[in-house]
């Protein structure tokens, strides 16, 4: 019937120390309008100077998505009046962006892979924020001039599932590269969705509707769903021509609908032309050499986890989807925990105990702590069962792992001498059962082992107990 055609524009705030065209800091939790200067306030006579760090991070991104890095890229002025845009034009890159013709791969549910093409990634300056308080509006320009990398995909996605897979992949790439905090709630990873529909089999692209600034994956899915439904309804009612216009719409999270955004975007002619205050941005050989050497990307790390740690594809995928958890695991490896136990204790035991939204940074158990627990299992200091008690206890109490084991009396006794003494005592007290065993009632082995474990309050290593009891009863 219908096919959904989706392309995305992702505004990624680059995590540079200073703004794109001035030396103001990029941190936001400051008093309004304090991180400003003549340039980002657009005072008369102030001029922009390109922050090279932005170019470096753009090269890294372009390399990660297999794109062309334009050695010369250019800036353009995009004109529109709005109070959050002090100069009334945005400096962006329309004609020759720094990054072009890239792609990334997403892993579909059925195990197959799909390539999503990236048309371009261009550098541009963020706007400030308008704050509306009743009848009055204020402007905070702390954010004005913060560098953005706008990553524009081709209209290659055919469902909201593909959109989310693409966004998650893109998100993990920028996090792996450490070029952006990419925090959707804080607005450092902002997504505009371009949606259209067409009859299946049709090659033509129909009217594209842009849905702006949706701040969670969940809402993106929902926004696409309701917008597609709106377009299909219009098509089937024969009102497509009148109702579906190339426009920008906002997603209303409460009413679960998209709404036409009137006002500043209306019939906008941005009057783009080359920015005369800036020269071309040049990527020198030296700069290219340096910044095209990028850290391991999610797909590479996943493959390595599988081959190096014998991890399942599934676990490797889960762990590497987030740079923070992947790093957590690697820290455990560096601490000397065994891979096999570390995987289980991270993906099952720890993550099972953490409620949603807990990140490695906010987890009460650090990688070092979890590694200490896993190592205690590895060297048989505690049993796996005892380790669960240790972890539970540690979740509630700030204490050294050794001290917890001590306090809970969970240390396994593997000292054969001590165990032999216990076995001897229990045999002496149960001579009748010893006779019965020796007479052929071998089921009684379990009784003796159980008695020894009970006498040791569970701290004896069961394997060792088993061996000694078997030997002495023989």
């Amino acid at each position: 019937m219908f096919e959904v055609v989706i392309g995305l524009e992702v505004h990624t705030q680059l995590n540079t120390n200073t703004k794109l065209f001035c030396s103001c800091p990029t941190s936001f939790n400051h008093t309004q309008n304090t991180n400003t200067c003549p340039t980002c306030l657009a005072l008369p006579g102030a001029l922009p100077v390109l922050n090279k760090e932005v170019l470096h991070k753009s090269i890294m991104f372009g390399t990660a998505v297999d794109a062309t890095i334009n050695r010369d890229s250019y800036f353009d002025r995009k004109s529109y009046f709005y109070p959050d845009s002090p100069s009334s034009y945005q400096i962006t890159q329309l004609y020759t962006p720094v990054v072009e013709h890239g792609s990334l791969e997403i892993d579909l549910e059925d195990g197959s892979k799909k390539t999503i093409r990236i048309n371009r990634a261009h550098i541009e300056a963020d706007a400030g924020k308008n704050i509306h308080e009743g009848d009055i509006s204020k402007v905070d320009l702390n954010r004005a001039g913060t560098p953005l990398l706008e990553i524009v995909s081709e209209p290659d996605m055919r469902s909201s599932d593909e959109v989310i897979l693409y966004l998650k992949k893109l998100h993990s790439i920028v996090r792996y590269l450490d070029i952006s905090d990419a925090n959707m709630q804080e607005g450092s990873f902002r997504v505009d969705v371009n949606v259209s529909i067409r009859p299946k089999g049709d090659e033509k692209l129909y009217t594209r509707v842009e849905i702006k600034n949706i701040n969670s994956f969940k809402f993106i899915e929902k926004a696409i769903e309701v917008e597609v439904a709106r377009q299909i309804d219009a098509w089937e009612d024969g009102t497509y021509e009148e109702e579906i216009a190339q426009e920008t719409r906002l997603f209303d999270q409460v009413k679960q609908e998209t709404r036409s955004m009137r006002g500043k975007e209306e019939a906008a002619d941005y009057r783009y032309f080359p920015e005369p205050d800036l020269l071309k941005a040049v990527v020198s050989d030296e700069m290219f050499e340096k910044y095209s050497k990028i850290p391991e990307l999610p797909d590479e790390k996943r493959a390595r986890f599988v081959s190096e740690y014998n991890m399942s594809e599934y676990n490797a995928g889960v762990l590497t989807a987030s740079l923070e958890w992947a790093k957590y695991f690697e820290t455990m490896m560096a601490e000397g925990a065994s891979a096999k136990n570390a995987i289980t204790w991270l993906t099952v035991e720890l993550q099972g105990r953490l409620s949603g939204g807990i990140t490695p940074e906010t987890s009460p158990i650090s990688a070092q702590t979890l590694a200490t627990i896993v190592k205690a299992i590895d060297d048989k200091t505690i049993s796996g069962k005892a380790a669960k008690d240790v972890l539970d206890y540690r979740m509630e109490n700030e204490m050294e792992i050794d001290a917890i084991i001590e306090k809970l009396g969970l240390k396994q006794v593997s000292d054969t001498g001590a165990i032999e003494t216990m076995v001897d005592e229990i045999m002496a007290a149960n001579m009748d059962k010893v006779e019965q065993y020796r007479g052929g009632k071998e089921k009684l082995l379990g009784f003796f082992v159980g008695q020894v474990m009970k006498a040791s309050k569970g701290s004896a290593n069961p394997q060792v107990v088993n061996e000694i009891v078997t030997k002495k009863l023989a």
């Binding site: 008369p44 006579g45 102030a46 001029l47 100077v49 002090p86 009334s88 783009y272 205050d277």
Partner: protein, 451 residues
């Protein structure tokens, strides 16, 4: 008036006494209206500053209503450089609103008189700067030149005005008219002072991305008027000019020859292409440069019914007619559907103009040219905008090609007694040759102000 060179040799006490006397003199000659006000900053040799160059703590308004009440919180790079060299800003000078005009009549502060004859305009847009130097009310002044705005008023007022190579002097702190054309430069009583002030102003500035990183050597200490140069005049260049210009032109050629220079004829593209390319480029840039004057953060806001009404009221009341005309023109040439036909085409013409000059400068050291088609007009004579745009015909190709040029007085016209200035033009970054040739011409001509 003492020269800049002389002033730089004064003791601190002598300088303070001089400044007091100067302020009294300025007060006594208020009707000239070259100064908007007479603030001074710190110690040093006083230099008058055009009202579009930022001085920390000064009202800087580009002679516009829309910037009334705005006080600059920072210094332009040229101001910092001047202060470091023992100079200090004294008085801001009148100009055409946002440097758009050729007569200084479009100023919010009213007209400035020509010091030679009060019936005539001082030229523009740096009319105030040229008038106060011409009237002996300033040792020297800063102006800005986008399409002739230093050279033309200097010629009208009988003083020296110099536009540096694009990128030689930082634009940081210069309220922008057209970013790719604007340059700050000196207006002085003589060529040597211009060289001294140029040396102080010039050099790379990391705050201006378009500022050149080429090595910047001082010129004043190497001035050599005895150098023999090859100087081109352009074929048919004065055909459309007045007799006063033709007379000065002939006189200058004779003087150059008598000083031992070789004068040759060369060709240039018809000046009408310059005008089109210039007004398309300058207004496109200006319309965006002036978009920041929206009444939101600073300046003269006129409250409207809602946001867009506030923009409309603020800008309708704040800008004068000539500024509005250029904003409209700039928006038109950038609007979708017209961009290629106007803006893109203008850039091609601009490259062509640049290439033509490059070709000429492969063979010659300097080009001699008129500055304006006639002497200063009387007030009101330039009210037709098209006539005003056409009067820029001799100056704008220099800005389009980014070249250095200097205008200096040759003689007073026989017809009306008003000064006639001519300009010398040099290859990019060849200011030394420009000043050497200008010094030679100046000393051979020996212009005196009075009739």
């Amino acid at each position: 008036m003492i020269t800049l060179k002389e002033a730089l040799a004064l003791s601190k006490e002598e300088l303070e006494a001089f400044k007091d006397a100067l302020k009294t003199q300025i007060e006594a000659n208020k009707e000239l209206n070259g100064y908007i006000d007479v603030n001074s900053v710190g110690e040093g040799v006083p230099i008058a500053i055009k009202d579009n160059i930022q001085v920390d703590g000064w009202a800087v308004t580009a002679a516009s209503n829309i910037l009334q009440g705005y006080v600059s919180p920072y210094n332009a790079t040229v101001i910092d450089k001047m202060k470091a060299a023992g100079l200090s800003p004294l008085g801001r000078t009148n100009m055409d609103e946002f440097a758009m005009g050729s007569t200084t009549e479009s100023s919010f502060y009213g007209k400035t008189l020509n010091p030679h004859n009060a019936e005539y305009v001082p030229g523009g847009s740096s009319g105030g700067s040229a008038a106060v130097v011409g009237a002996g009310l300033a040792i020297a002044a800063l102006g800005s030149d986008t399409g002739g705005s230093i050279r033309q008023p200097a010629a009208y007022c009988g003083v020296v005005g110099m536009k540096p190579t694009y990128g030689r002097v930082s634009r940081y702190g210069l309220g922008a008219y057209a970013s790719s054309l604007d340059q700050i430069g000196p207006i002085t009583q003589n060529v040597e002072d211009a060289a001294i002030l140029y040396d102080i102003l010039s050099g790379h500035d990391e705050k201006d991305s378009t500022s050149s990183t080429l090595e910047c050597l001082s010129v004043a200490d190497k001035l050599d008027k005895s150098r023999k140069l090859k100087i081109a005049v352009i074929q048919g260049h004065t055909d459309e000019a007045s007799d006063a210009i033709k007379s000065a032109y002939t006189k200058a050629i004779d003087a150059l020859k008598s000083a031992g220079h070789e004068v040759v004829e060369r060709e240039l593209l018809d000046g009408k292409y310059d005008i089109s390319a210039y007004y398309v480029t300058a207004t496109a840039e200006a319309t965006t440069n002036l978009a920041r004057y929206d009444g939101i953060r600073y300046g003269n806001r006129v409250e409207g019914k809602n946001l867009s009404d506030t923009y409309i009221q603020t800008r309708s009341n704040g800008f004068g007619d000539e500024v509005k005309r250029r904003i409209l023109l700039g928006n038109f040439v950038l609007s979708s559907g017209y961009y290629d036909a106007y803006y893109v085409k203008a850039q091609k013409v601009r490259s062509l103009i640049k290439a033509e000059y490059e070709k000429i400068f492969e063979e010659v050291d300097l080009v001699l040219s008129p500055v304006a088609p006639d002497t200063a007009p009387k007030f009101g004579e330039m009210s037709d905008p098209m006539k005003m745009y056409l009067s820029d015909i001799y100056t704008i190709s220099v800005n389009l090609a980014g070249l250095p040029a200097i205008s200096l007085p040759i003689e007073n016209a026989a017809s009306n007694g008003m000064p006639v200035g001519l300009q010398l033009i040099a290859a990019p970054f060849n200011e030394q040759t420009l000043f050497d040739g200008a010094l030679s011409l100046e000393s051979t001509i020996n212009y005196t102000k009075g009739n």
